[in-house]
Protein backbone atom coordinates (compact mmCIF):
# COMPACT_ATOMS: atom_id res chain seq x y z
CA UNK A 1 0.00 0.00 0.00
CA UNK A 2 2.83 2.34 0.90
CA UNK A 3 4.61 1.58 -2.35
CA UNK A 4 1.40 2.18 -4.30
CA UNK A 5 0.86 5.57 -2.63
CA UNK A 6 4.47 6.50 -3.31
CA UNK A 7 4.14 5.57 -6.97
CA UNK A 8 0.93 7.56 -7.37
CA UNK A 9 2.50 10.61 -5.74
CA UNK A 10 5.56 10.29 -7.95
CA UNK A 11 3.35 10.02 -11.04
CA UNK A 12 1.34 13.11 -10.05
CA UNK A 13 4.52 15.04 -9.37
CA UNK A 14 5.96 14.08 -12.75
CA UNK A 15 2.70 15.00 -14.45
CA UNK A 16 2.75 18.44 -12.82
CA UNK A 17 6.43 18.88 -13.63
CA UNK A 18 5.84 18.03 -17.29
CA UNK A 19 2.89 20.33 -17.46
CA UNK A 20 4.91 23.19 -15.99
CA UNK A 21 7.80 22.55 -18.34
CA UNK A 22 5.40 22.50 -21.24
CA UNK A 23 3.34 25.53 -20.35
CA UNK A 24 5.47 27.78 -18.16
CA UNK A 25 6.96 29.93 -20.88
CA UNK A 26 9.11 31.85 -18.47
CA UNK A 27 11.22 28.70 -18.03
CA UNK A 28 11.79 28.19 -21.74
CA UNK A 29 14.77 29.72 -23.50
CA UNK A 30 13.40 31.79 -26.37
CA UNK A 31 9.87 32.16 -25.06
CA UNK A 32 11.01 33.67 -21.77
CA UNK A 33 13.14 36.35 -23.46
CA UNK A 34 10.42 37.38 -25.87
CA UNK A 35 7.70 37.12 -23.26
CA UNK A 36 9.61 39.53 -21.02
CA UNK A 37 10.17 41.83 -23.98
CA UNK A 38 6.46 41.77 -24.79
CA UNK A 39 5.62 42.51 -21.17
CA UNK A 40 7.95 45.52 -21.24
CA UNK A 41 6.38 46.72 -24.49
CA UNK A 42 2.94 46.42 -22.96
CA UNK A 43 4.01 48.29 -19.81
CA UNK A 44 5.29 51.08 -22.06
CA UNK A 45 2.08 51.02 -24.09
CA UNK A 46 -0.19 51.25 -21.07
CA UNK A 47 1.32 54.65 -20.27
CA UNK A 48 -0.58 55.99 -23.30
CA UNK A 49 -3.69 58.09 -22.68
CA UNK A 50 -6.40 58.84 -25.19
CA UNK A 51 -7.58 61.93 -23.33
CA UNK A 52 -5.76 65.19 -22.86
CA UNK A 53 -6.36 66.48 -19.30
CA UNK A 54 -5.32 69.93 -20.59
CA UNK A 55 -2.79 70.79 -17.92
CA UNK A 56 -0.90 74.04 -18.47
CA UNK A 57 -3.27 75.05 -21.23
CA UNK A 58 -5.71 77.85 -21.75
CA UNK A 59 -9.42 77.46 -21.11
CA UNK A 60 -11.20 75.94 -24.09
CA UNK A 61 -14.58 76.26 -25.67
CA UNK A 62 -16.48 73.06 -26.36
CA UNK A 63 -15.51 72.90 -30.04
CA UNK A 64 -11.79 73.37 -29.36
CA UNK A 65 -11.96 70.86 -26.50
CA UNK A 66 -13.60 68.24 -28.72
CA UNK A 67 -11.21 68.89 -31.61
CA UNK A 68 -8.12 68.68 -29.37
CA UNK A 69 -9.36 65.43 -27.83
CA UNK A 70 -9.93 64.05 -31.32
CA UNK A 71 -6.35 64.86 -32.26
CA UNK A 72 -5.15 63.17 -29.07
CA UNK A 73 -7.16 60.04 -29.87
CA UNK A 74 -5.71 59.97 -33.37
CA UNK A 75 -2.17 60.11 -31.99
CA UNK A 76 -2.91 57.37 -29.46
CA UNK A 77 -4.45 55.22 -32.15
CA UNK A 78 -1.26 55.57 -34.21
CA UNK A 79 0.86 54.80 -31.16
CA UNK A 80 -1.15 51.64 -30.42
CA UNK A 81 -0.68 50.48 -34.02
CA UNK A 82 3.06 51.13 -33.71
CA UNK A 83 3.19 49.16 -30.44
CA UNK A 84 1.22 46.33 -32.06
CA UNK A 85 3.72 46.20 -34.92
CA UNK A 86 6.68 46.14 -32.52
CA UNK A 87 5.00 43.43 -30.49
CA UNK A 88 4.30 41.46 -33.65
CA UNK A 89 7.93 41.66 -34.73
CA UNK A 90 8.94 40.40 -31.30
CA UNK A 91 6.63 37.38 -31.45
CA UNK A 92 7.59 36.61 -35.04
CA UNK A 93 11.23 36.71 -33.95
CA UNK A 94 10.50 34.28 -31.12
CA UNK A 95 8.68 31.85 -33.42
CA UNK A 96 11.46 32.12 -36.01
CA UNK A 97 14.14 31.38 -33.42
CA UNK A 98 12.30 28.32 -32.07
CA UNK A 99 11.59 27.02 -35.56
CA UNK A 100 15.16 27.65 -36.76
CA UNK A 101 16.56 25.77 -33.80
CA UNK A 102 14.19 22.86 -34.31
CA UNK A 103 14.79 22.83 -38.08
CA UNK A 104 18.53 22.79 -37.52
CA UNK A 105 18.25 19.89 -35.11
CA UNK A 106 15.96 17.88 -37.40
CA UNK A 107 18.14 18.52 -40.47
CA UNK A 108 21.26 17.46 -38.60
CA UNK A 109 19.52 14.33 -37.28
CA UNK A 110 18.32 13.41 -40.77
CA UNK A 111 21.85 13.96 -42.09
CA UNK A 112 23.22 11.77 -39.33
CA UNK A 113 20.64 9.14 -40.13
CA UNK A 114 21.59 9.26 -43.80
CA UNK A 115 25.20 8.86 -42.77
CA UNK A 116 24.32 5.83 -40.65
CA UNK A 117 22.30 4.40 -43.52
CA UNK A 118 25.32 4.61 -45.79
CA UNK A 119 27.51 2.92 -43.23
CA UNK A 120 25.00 0.24 -42.24
CA UNK A 121 22.43 -0.17 -45.06
CA UNK A 122 20.59 -3.25 -43.70
CA UNK A 123 19.86 -1.88 -40.21
CA UNK A 124 19.00 1.59 -41.48
CA UNK A 125 16.54 0.45 -44.13
CA UNK A 126 14.47 -1.35 -41.48
CA UNK A 127 14.10 1.69 -39.29
CA UNK A 128 13.38 4.14 -42.13
CA UNK A 129 10.40 2.18 -43.34
CA UNK A 130 8.98 2.21 -39.81
CA UNK A 131 9.55 5.84 -38.99
CA UNK A 132 9.34 7.99 -42.11
CA UNK A 133 6.24 9.20 -43.78
CA UNK A 134 5.76 10.66 -47.26
CA UNK A 135 6.49 14.38 -47.56
CA UNK A 136 3.75 16.63 -46.24
CA UNK A 137 2.94 20.01 -47.68
CA UNK A 138 2.24 21.62 -44.29
CA UNK A 139 5.72 20.76 -43.06
CA UNK A 140 7.31 22.05 -46.24
CA UNK A 141 5.41 25.30 -45.85
CA UNK A 142 7.27 25.80 -42.60
CA UNK A 143 10.57 25.04 -44.31
CA UNK A 144 11.10 21.60 -42.85
CA UNK A 145 12.79 18.95 -44.94
CA UNK A 146 11.24 15.85 -46.41
CA UNK A 147 11.75 12.57 -44.68
CA UNK A 148 11.10 13.63 -41.12
CA UNK A 149 10.54 10.77 -38.71
CA UNK A 150 7.47 10.48 -36.46
CA UNK A 151 9.60 11.79 -33.66
CA UNK A 152 10.58 14.87 -35.68
CA UNK A 153 7.00 15.59 -36.62
CA UNK A 154 5.94 15.12 -33.05
CA UNK A 155 8.55 17.66 -31.90
CA UNK A 156 7.37 20.11 -34.54
CA UNK A 157 3.73 19.66 -33.56
CA UNK A 158 4.64 20.13 -29.93
CA UNK A 159 6.26 23.48 -30.72
CA UNK A 160 3.35 24.52 -32.93
CA UNK A 161 0.91 23.68 -30.16
CA UNK A 162 3.05 25.80 -27.87
CA UNK A 163 2.88 28.76 -30.32
CA UNK A 164 -0.91 28.69 -30.18
CA UNK A 165 -0.80 28.75 -26.38
CA UNK A 166 1.85 31.46 -26.42
CA UNK A 167 -0.40 33.54 -28.67
CA UNK A 168 -3.12 33.44 -26.02
CA UNK A 169 -0.68 34.55 -23.35
CA UNK A 170 0.55 37.38 -25.55
CA UNK A 171 -3.03 38.52 -26.18
CA UNK A 172 -3.79 38.30 -22.47
CA UNK A 173 -0.94 40.70 -21.68
CA UNK A 174 -1.90 42.99 -24.57
CA UNK A 175 -5.53 43.10 -23.44
CA UNK A 176 -4.49 43.92 -19.90
CA UNK A 177 -2.43 46.81 -21.23
CA UNK A 178 -5.25 48.07 -23.50
CA UNK A 179 -7.77 47.91 -20.67
CA UNK A 180 -5.35 49.84 -18.44
CA UNK A 181 -5.06 52.54 -21.10
CA UNK A 182 -8.84 52.89 -21.04
CA UNK A 183 -9.31 52.78 -17.28
CA UNK A 184 -6.45 55.19 -16.58
CA UNK A 185 -7.45 57.59 -19.37
CA UNK A 186 -11.03 57.86 -18.12
CA UNK A 187 -9.86 57.97 -14.50
CA UNK A 188 -7.36 60.75 -15.17
CA UNK A 189 -9.90 62.90 -16.97
CA UNK A 190 -12.45 62.45 -14.17
CA UNK A 191 -9.77 63.25 -11.57
CA UNK A 192 -8.82 66.38 -13.52
CA UNK A 193 -12.45 67.56 -13.65
CA UNK A 194 -12.81 66.87 -9.92
CA UNK A 195 -9.53 68.62 -9.09
CA UNK A 196 -10.48 71.79 -10.97
CA UNK A 197 -13.96 71.79 -9.48
CA UNK A 198 -12.57 71.43 -5.96
CA UNK A 199 -10.16 74.39 -6.18
CA UNK A 200 -13.09 76.76 -6.53
CA UNK A 201 -13.53 78.88 -3.37
CA UNK A 202 -17.16 79.96 -3.53
CA UNK A 203 -16.89 82.35 -0.60
CA UNK A 204 -14.09 84.21 -2.36
CA UNK A 205 -15.99 84.24 -5.64
CA UNK A 206 -19.18 85.53 -4.04
CA UNK A 207 -17.35 88.37 -2.31
CA UNK A 208 -14.65 89.28 -4.83
CA UNK A 209 -14.35 92.81 -6.16
CA UNK A 210 -15.05 93.06 -9.87
CA UNK A 211 -13.68 96.55 -10.23
CA UNK A 212 -10.52 96.08 -12.30
CA UNK A 213 -8.90 99.09 -10.66
CA UNK A 214 -9.59 97.81 -7.14
CA UNK A 215 -8.90 94.14 -7.77
CA UNK A 216 -5.68 92.61 -6.46
CA UNK A 217 -4.13 90.68 -9.33
CA UNK A 218 -3.90 87.00 -8.37
CA UNK A 219 -0.53 85.34 -8.97
CA UNK A 220 -0.63 83.17 -12.08
CA UNK A 221 -1.18 79.50 -11.20
CA UNK A 222 -0.46 77.42 -14.28
CA UNK A 223 -2.38 74.16 -14.31
CA UNK A 224 -5.35 75.58 -12.40
CA UNK A 225 -6.97 77.39 -15.30
CA UNK A 226 -10.58 76.35 -15.86
CA UNK A 227 -10.95 73.63 -18.43
CA UNK A 228 -14.20 74.73 -20.03
CA UNK A 229 -15.31 78.09 -21.23
CA UNK A 230 -18.96 79.09 -20.97
CA UNK A 231 -20.48 82.38 -21.97
CA UNK A 232 -23.33 84.03 -20.13
CA UNK A 233 -25.72 86.03 -22.26
CA UNK A 234 -28.63 88.24 -21.34
CA UNK A 235 -31.93 87.05 -22.75
CA UNK A 236 -34.31 89.82 -21.73
CA UNK A 237 -36.90 88.74 -24.28
CA UNK A 238 -37.99 86.06 -21.84
CA UNK A 239 -40.96 87.21 -19.81
CA UNK A 240 -40.67 87.24 -16.02
CA UNK A 241 -43.62 85.36 -14.48
CA UNK A 242 -46.01 87.78 -12.78
CA UNK A 243 -45.94 85.89 -9.49
CA UNK A 244 -42.22 86.56 -9.19
CA UNK A 245 -42.60 90.33 -9.41
CA UNK A 246 -43.05 91.72 -5.93
CA UNK A 247 -44.27 95.23 -5.20
CA UNK A 248 -42.22 97.26 -2.75
CA UNK A 249 -42.90 100.55 -0.97
CA UNK A 250 -41.08 103.45 -2.56
CA UNK A 251 -39.98 106.31 -0.28
CA UNK A 252 -40.28 109.92 -1.34
CA UNK A 253 -37.26 111.32 -3.11
CA UNK A 254 -36.08 114.42 -1.28
CA UNK A 255 -32.50 115.54 -1.67
CA UNK A 256 -30.55 117.29 1.11
CA UNK A 257 -30.86 119.74 2.74
CA UNK A 258 -34.62 119.14 2.79
CA UNK A 259 -34.32 115.33 2.93
CA UNK A 260 -31.88 112.40 3.19
CA UNK A 261 -32.21 110.86 -0.32
CA UNK A 262 -29.20 110.08 -2.43
CA UNK A 263 -28.84 110.26 -6.20
CA UNK A 264 -29.17 106.48 -6.52
CA UNK A 265 -32.46 106.49 -4.57
CA UNK A 266 -34.20 108.17 -7.47
CA UNK A 267 -36.64 105.67 -8.93
CA UNK A 268 -37.69 106.24 -12.49
CA UNK A 269 -40.87 104.22 -12.06
CA UNK A 270 -41.99 106.01 -8.89
CA UNK A 271 -40.51 109.47 -8.99
CA UNK A 272 -41.07 110.51 -12.57
CA UNK A 273 -44.62 111.72 -12.45
CA UNK A 274 -46.94 113.80 -14.57
CA UNK A 275 -49.00 116.63 -13.17
CA UNK A 276 -52.73 115.93 -13.28
CA UNK A 277 -54.49 117.41 -16.32
CA UNK A 278 -56.15 120.75 -15.64
Amino acid sequence: MRMWKKTIKHQNRMKAQNSLEEKLFILQDHFSVHLMKHRQQMLDMQALRFVDPCRNQDTKDIVTFSEDQKVKRKHVSEDVIRCAEESRDNVFECIAKVMDELRERIVSEIALDEERKKNNPIQSSNTIVMKRKASNNVFEKLGFPEGMTYGHRSSLRKECSRFLRFAYLIDFLSLESLSNIYIHSVGEMIDRLRELDSICDMHKIMTMDFDEAMRQPAPPQRGQEPLFNISVTLNDARAIPGNEIKKVVCDDFVLPPRGQSKDQDFDLLCHLELEPEK
Binding site: R73, A84, F92, D171, I181, M208, D236, E244, F266
Partner: protein
Protein backbone atom coordinates in the same frame (compact mmCIF):
# COMPACT_ATOMS: atom_id res chain seq x y z
CA UNK B 1 -37.60 89.40 -8.27
CA UNK B 2 -35.55 86.74 -6.52
CA UNK B 3 -34.99 84.55 -9.60
CA UNK B 4 -34.47 87.04 -12.37
CA UNK B 5 -30.98 85.69 -13.13
CA UNK B 6 -32.49 82.25 -13.73
CA UNK B 7 -34.80 83.71 -16.34
CA UNK B 8 -32.58 86.16 -18.11
CA UNK B 9 -29.06 84.79 -17.94
CA UNK B 10 -28.36 81.94 -20.29
CA UNK B 11 -25.25 79.80 -20.16
CA UNK B 12 -23.92 78.41 -23.41
CA UNK B 13 -22.99 75.68 -23.97
CA UNK B 14 -25.13 73.86 -21.42
CA UNK B 15 -23.92 71.34 -18.85
CA UNK B 16 -25.40 68.56 -21.01
CA UNK B 17 -23.26 69.65 -23.96
CA UNK B 18 -20.08 69.40 -21.92
CA UNK B 19 -21.12 66.09 -20.31
CA UNK B 20 -21.81 64.62 -23.75
CA UNK B 21 -18.55 65.97 -25.09
CA UNK B 22 -16.55 64.27 -22.32
CA UNK B 23 -18.50 61.01 -22.53
CA UNK B 24 -18.02 60.91 -26.32
CA UNK B 25 -14.26 61.26 -25.68
CA UNK B 26 -14.44 58.13 -23.56
CA UNK B 27 -16.54 56.17 -26.05
CA UNK B 28 -14.40 57.10 -29.04
CA UNK B 29 -11.30 56.56 -26.93
CA UNK B 30 -12.22 52.90 -26.65
CA UNK B 31 -12.49 52.71 -30.44
CA UNK B 32 -9.13 54.43 -30.81
CA UNK B 33 -7.35 51.66 -28.89
CA UNK B 34 -9.20 48.81 -30.57
CA UNK B 35 -6.63 48.50 -33.33
CA UNK B 36 -4.10 46.20 -31.71
CA UNK B 37 -3.76 43.17 -33.97
CA UNK B 38 -4.50 39.92 -32.17
CA UNK B 39 -2.27 36.86 -32.12
CA UNK B 40 -4.64 34.16 -30.92
CA UNK B 41 -6.54 32.56 -33.78
CA UNK B 42 -4.94 34.96 -36.24
CA UNK B 43 -4.28 33.92 -39.84
CA UNK B 44 -0.53 34.32 -39.22
CA UNK B 45 -0.69 31.25 -36.98
CA UNK B 46 -2.61 29.12 -39.48
CA UNK B 47 0.51 27.36 -40.87
CA UNK B 48 1.37 26.22 -37.34
CA UNK B 49 -2.19 25.14 -36.54
CA UNK B 50 -2.37 23.18 -39.82
CA UNK B 51 0.54 21.03 -38.69
CA UNK B 52 -1.36 19.77 -35.66
CA UNK B 53 -3.23 16.50 -35.65
CA UNK B 54 -6.65 16.12 -34.13
CA UNK B 55 -5.24 14.38 -31.06
CA UNK B 56 -2.76 17.18 -30.37
CA UNK B 57 -3.31 19.60 -27.54
CA UNK B 58 -4.94 22.71 -29.06
CA UNK B 59 -5.76 25.64 -26.83
CA UNK B 60 -9.41 26.56 -27.24
CA UNK B 61 -10.05 23.01 -28.61
CA UNK B 62 -10.74 23.99 -32.23
CA UNK B 63 -8.51 26.30 -34.23
CA UNK B 64 -10.58 28.63 -36.34
CA UNK B 65 -9.56 32.05 -37.54
CA UNK B 66 -11.22 34.76 -35.42
CA UNK B 67 -13.68 37.13 -37.10
CA UNK B 68 -12.12 40.14 -35.38
CA UNK B 69 -8.57 40.85 -36.42
CA UNK B 70 -7.99 43.24 -33.52
CA UNK B 71 -8.18 42.86 -29.77
CA UNK B 72 -11.08 44.51 -28.01
CA UNK B 73 -10.59 45.23 -24.29
CA UNK B 74 -14.35 45.70 -23.76
CA UNK B 75 -14.77 42.41 -21.91
CA UNK B 76 -11.96 43.47 -19.57
CA UNK B 77 -13.48 46.81 -18.65
CA UNK B 78 -17.23 46.34 -18.87
CA UNK B 79 -17.53 45.45 -15.20
CA UNK B 80 -15.12 48.09 -13.97
CA UNK B 81 -16.64 50.90 -11.89
CA UNK B 82 -14.95 53.50 -14.07
CA UNK B 83 -16.69 52.11 -17.14
CA UNK B 84 -20.07 51.57 -15.51
CA UNK B 85 -20.32 54.88 -13.67
CA UNK B 86 -18.30 57.23 -15.86
CA UNK B 87 -21.32 59.17 -17.13
CA UNK B 88 -22.71 59.65 -13.62
CA UNK B 89 -19.29 60.75 -12.35
CA UNK B 90 -18.86 63.29 -15.14
CA UNK B 91 -22.44 64.48 -14.76
CA UNK B 92 -22.08 65.01 -11.01
CA UNK B 93 -18.90 67.06 -11.44
CA UNK B 94 -20.02 69.15 -14.43
CA UNK B 95 -23.52 69.81 -13.08
CA UNK B 96 -21.97 70.71 -9.72
CA UNK B 97 -19.73 73.19 -11.50
CA UNK B 98 -22.70 74.68 -13.37
CA UNK B 99 -24.59 75.01 -10.08
CA UNK B 100 -21.68 77.05 -8.75
CA UNK B 101 -21.90 79.31 -11.79
CA UNK B 102 -25.65 79.69 -11.22
CA UNK B 103 -24.95 80.68 -7.64
CA UNK B 104 -22.33 83.14 -8.82
CA UNK B 105 -24.80 84.67 -11.27
CA UNK B 106 -27.09 85.59 -8.39
CA UNK B 107 -24.54 88.32 -7.70
CA UNK B 108 -25.92 90.13 -10.73
CA UNK B 109 -29.45 90.08 -9.33
CA UNK B 110 -29.39 93.80 -8.31
CA UNK B 111 -28.05 94.85 -11.73
CA UNK B 112 -30.67 92.79 -13.52
CA UNK B 113 -33.41 94.34 -11.39
CA UNK B 114 -32.18 97.81 -12.30
CA UNK B 115 -32.17 96.76 -15.93
CA UNK B 116 -35.69 95.36 -15.60
CA UNK B 117 -36.96 98.57 -13.96
CA UNK B 118 -35.37 100.70 -16.67
CA UNK B 119 -37.09 98.58 -19.29
CA UNK B 120 -40.45 99.31 -17.66
CA UNK B 121 -39.96 103.08 -17.82
CA UNK B 122 -41.24 105.09 -20.73
CA UNK B 123 -38.50 107.69 -20.98
CA UNK B 124 -40.59 109.92 -23.20
CA UNK B 125 -42.10 111.11 -19.93
CA UNK B 126 -38.95 113.24 -19.53
CA UNK B 127 -40.01 115.45 -22.40
CA UNK B 128 -43.67 115.53 -21.47
CA UNK B 129 -45.07 119.00 -20.95
CA UNK B 130 -46.79 117.96 -17.72
CA UNK B 131 -43.69 116.40 -16.11
CA UNK B 132 -43.68 117.23 -12.42
CA UNK B 133 -40.58 119.16 -11.28
CA UNK B 134 -38.98 118.85 -14.72
CA UNK B 135 -35.63 120.41 -13.78
CA UNK B 136 -35.13 118.27 -10.67
CA UNK B 137 -36.48 115.18 -12.40
CA UNK B 138 -34.17 115.55 -15.41
CA UNK B 139 -31.21 116.31 -13.20
CA UNK B 140 -31.93 113.32 -10.94
CA UNK B 141 -32.41 111.05 -13.95
CA UNK B 142 -29.09 112.09 -15.46
CA UNK B 143 -27.32 111.60 -12.12
CA UNK B 144 -29.01 108.23 -11.69
CA UNK B 145 -27.83 107.07 -15.11
CA UNK B 146 -24.31 108.24 -14.31
CA UNK B 147 -24.47 106.21 -11.13
CA UNK B 148 -25.75 103.20 -13.06
CA UNK B 149 -22.97 103.58 -15.62
CA UNK B 150 -20.34 103.47 -12.92
CA UNK B 151 -22.13 100.66 -11.03
CA UNK B 152 -22.44 98.45 -14.11
CA UNK B 153 -18.84 99.09 -15.13
CA UNK B 154 -17.45 98.11 -11.76
CA UNK B 155 -19.74 95.14 -11.14
CA UNK B 156 -19.77 93.32 -14.45
CA UNK B 157 -16.59 91.33 -14.95
CA UNK B 158 -15.67 90.32 -18.49
CA UNK B 159 -14.41 86.97 -17.26
CA UNK B 160 -14.37 85.02 -14.00
CA UNK B 161 -12.79 81.67 -13.15
CA UNK B 162 -15.05 79.37 -11.16
CA UNK B 163 -13.03 76.17 -10.77
CA UNK B 164 -13.82 73.97 -13.73
CA UNK B 165 -15.63 76.67 -15.70
Amino acid sequence: MPNISDHWLQMTPSSKDYINSVVICFQEGLDSITNFKRWSKHADLAPYADVLEEWDDIVGDVWEEHDEENLNPFSWINENRIYLEQKEMVRDIVEGAFDKVKRFLTRFQPLLEIYWRNKQVDLSILVHERLRNPVESLSSTVKLFQFYHSLFNSNLPSMTEIGLL
